[in-house]
């Protein structure tokens, strides 16, 4: 049993400051005032609060505002019973600052890596029903912008069937929007914009682009991108504002190049399987890259800019498609001349479809 003199105490019930002596009895202690004795209190309930002027301030679990302030050299037996001082808090104090900083860096890098890589494994695990519901919610009837004629639909159906083994779980539509673009959305939805179909010089060009978008669907790129975006939003949510958004965009951009290459590979394989020449798709990219190089500032319409931003590097992709040509193979056109005309003029013929767009893609 020992007594320590230089201590101040607030009991948490009133703001009266009390000069006390700490009387230690085993694992418990009393606080002695001239005429009063507070306690007993258990050392196991004591917690470190803060450092104030030259005193360490301790609190007591479950007693709001209870304070014991010890200044000067604290005797060893009392010191041994008190909890450790807190500096950075929990983990950092236990590891030490340097080790904690390294550990946090590694953990952060691992978290970012998981978010970037796991969608590849996670996306196939998402049930098709969720994918479809999301697609329905997003696309619906596209504000009545889908074009439809019996002959045009039949031509599109034939084209899809030649490019994919399970055409039934794909919804391919042509939208009456004058943009050179095409998108793959959740639920097997592929939308070709009329601007792209109109400017195509052969059905083979449309087949290549369509097979590319089907590639996005089959490789589950849409769900991957969605998961990745959400994961990055969570992981980088801690970084404020612009820097977070910037990092986020850069990371998801670098990803989309990769999936573009995958979709291109899928497209070349599908064209090969359908006996459609990839030369059409190559010349399509050729024209795009010419427009991109020469006319980007003056005559460019938003159509090209739109396709370029989501499908970059047209020239190198053109080379890839050219290389996939098999010499001596007996290619046949993707559609007959009549079918092609029907598909190309479908949106002109369908007067009920609404035109233009009141929204932005990104």
């Amino acid at each position: 049993m020992s007594t320590f003199f230089d201590a101040w105490h607030y009991d948490g019930k009133s703001a009266v400051r009390r000069k006390v002596e700490v009387q230690i009895i085993g694992t418990q202690f009393y606080l002695l005032e001239t005429e009063r004795r507070h306690g007993p209190f258990a050392f196991s309930d004591v917690e470190y609060v803060t450092h104030k002027v030259d005193a360490d301030v301790y609190g007591l679990k479950a007693t709001d505002g209870w304070r014991l302030m010890l200044s000067g050299p604290v005797p060893a037996d009392l010191n041994a019973m008190l909890p450790a001082r807190r500096n950075y808090g929990g983990w950092v104090d236990r590891l030490g600052f340097g080790k904690a900083a390294v550990a946090f860096t590694l953990a952060s890098a691992a978290a970012v890596a998981i978010v970037l890589l796991s969608p590849q494994w996670l996306a196939p695990l998402i049930p098709d029903s969720v994918d479809e519901k999301l697609g329905d919610a997003l696309v619906g009837d596209f504000g009545g912008r889908f074009c439809s004629t019996p002959a045009g639909d039949a031509a599109m159906k034939k084209l899809v069937a030649s490019l994919d083994a399970n055409p039934d779980d794909l919804q391919v539509e042509v939208a009456k929007i004058d943009m050179i673009n095409a998108v793959a959305l959740p639920g097997g939805n592929v939308i070709l914009f009329d601007g792209l179909v109109k400017q195509a010089r052969s059905p083979d060009e449309v087949a290549g682009v369509l097979a590319h978008e089907i590639g996005h669907v089959r490789e589950k790129h849409v769900m991957q991108a969605l998961l990745r975006q959400m994961g990055l939003a969570v992981v980088l949510g801690g970084i404020d504002g612009n820097s977070g958004a910037l990092v986020n965009n850069m990371l998801s951009m670098s990803y989309s190049r990769e999936s573009e290459a995958e979709a291109d590979a899928h497209s070349m394989k599908a064209l090969g399987g359908a006996n459609i020449s990839p030369i059409g798709t190559a010349s399509f990219f050729d024209r795009l890259s010419e427009m991109d190089g020469s006319a980007s500032s003056s005559t460019s319409d938003n159509g090209i800019a739109g396709y370029m931003s989501s499908h970059p590097l047209s020239r190198s992709r053109k080379d890839a498609f050219e290389k996939s040509i098999v010499k001596g193979k007996n290619y046949k056109p993707a559609l007959t001349p009549t079918e092609w005309t029907e598909l190309k003029t479908m949106c002109t013929q369908d007067r009920k479809a609404k035109s233009g767009f009141g929204f932005d893609f990104n």
């Binding site: 607030y10 009991d11 948490g12 019930k13 009133s14 703001a15 009266v16 400051r17 609060v49 803060t50 450092h51 104030k52 002027v53 301030v57 609190g59 709001d64 505002g65 209870w66 304070r67 950075y88 808090g89 950092v92 600052f97 904690a100 900083a101 946090f104 860096t105 953990a107 952060s108 978290a111 970012v112 919610a137 997003l138 696309v139 619906g140 009837d141 596209f142 504000g143 009545g144 969570v234 992981v235 980088l236 949510g237 801690g238 970084i239 404020d240 504002g241 977070g244 609404k354 009141g358 929204f359």
Partner: protein, 362 residues
Amino acid sequence: MNDDIFQRHSAFRFHGSWLEFARIAFPNLLLTIVTLGIYRFWATTREREYLWSKTEFIDERLEWTGKGIELFIGFIMAFLLIGLPLIVIQLISQGLIFRGETILAAVITLMMFLLLFYLTGVAYFRALRYRLSRTYWRGIRGGSDDPGFQYGLAYMWKSMVGWLPIFLLVPWSMISLWNDRWNAMSFGPHRFSATAEWKPLMKRYLLFYLVPFLLFIGAVVFGISMAASGGTPDALGGTGMAVGAIFAIIGVLSFYLFLPLAALAYYSKYFRLAVGGLRLHNLEFDFRARAPDWILFFLANIAIIVCTLGIGYIFMPYRNWKFFVDHMEAYGEINVDELTQSETVVAKHGEGLLDAFDVGAI
């Protein structure tokens, strides 16, 4: 025992030094970076612990007992309860626009905006409540039993009323909301009473409000007097053009200079009136910073940030707190026997909502 406040110096005194603060702020910055921002909750807590412990009220330092984990949980809650639903609502309204249901989408977006507006009000209230409940003086803390949901409604309608007559009633809404907020708060057994008046604020507000018009009128008068003095560009030659250009630059600069200055002049008056209307039992408060103090403070902050290429930003919490404490004043007396522990509930989570909306507390 009565503690009378001697008027030789303010009841509030700040004893911190920026060198000590730097030893907290720089490791905080490093840990925040390597944890992708997650450490910032603990960083904030460490900074407050330091600032509070260096703040003396009468004869005892303040204590900050908030925990990093509380702020972290608050942030997670805000993300789950507000962030995620917002993302879902945004997806739905985008889908509706896709389908051409623009009106429904607009209604949903408006509802979302109103909800955010309401929650911003609640967040302001709860941040103040959280801060008071974690601030101890002589073992006694503050708080409020009001969850702030009513205040959220008041925040909505009073802000609207403030804006409706071409923003002329903004001073009324600001003062009235300050009073609402503080009237719900207490420290120990005593409730705050906030009775600030808004009418004395109108003159400053009109000054701020009219600055753009005054500048415009000044420019017109200057132009007319130039013309009247017979100075045509031809007659004055190159020097005339130069003088004209200089005046144009001064005009633009003064717009960007006078407007913030007028805003600061208004804010200094607002804060003085708001704090001046505050009472706690037998204590009255005063904030002595006047417009020139605020302007100097503001300019020094900008200079520090610019000269340190932005790193000085980490000292802003220190500078803000020092400015606040240095100019705070209290009169009256406290009976420490009567100052008993607060009975208010202690919320387990911190300023999550506020953190999510990125607004300041006082």
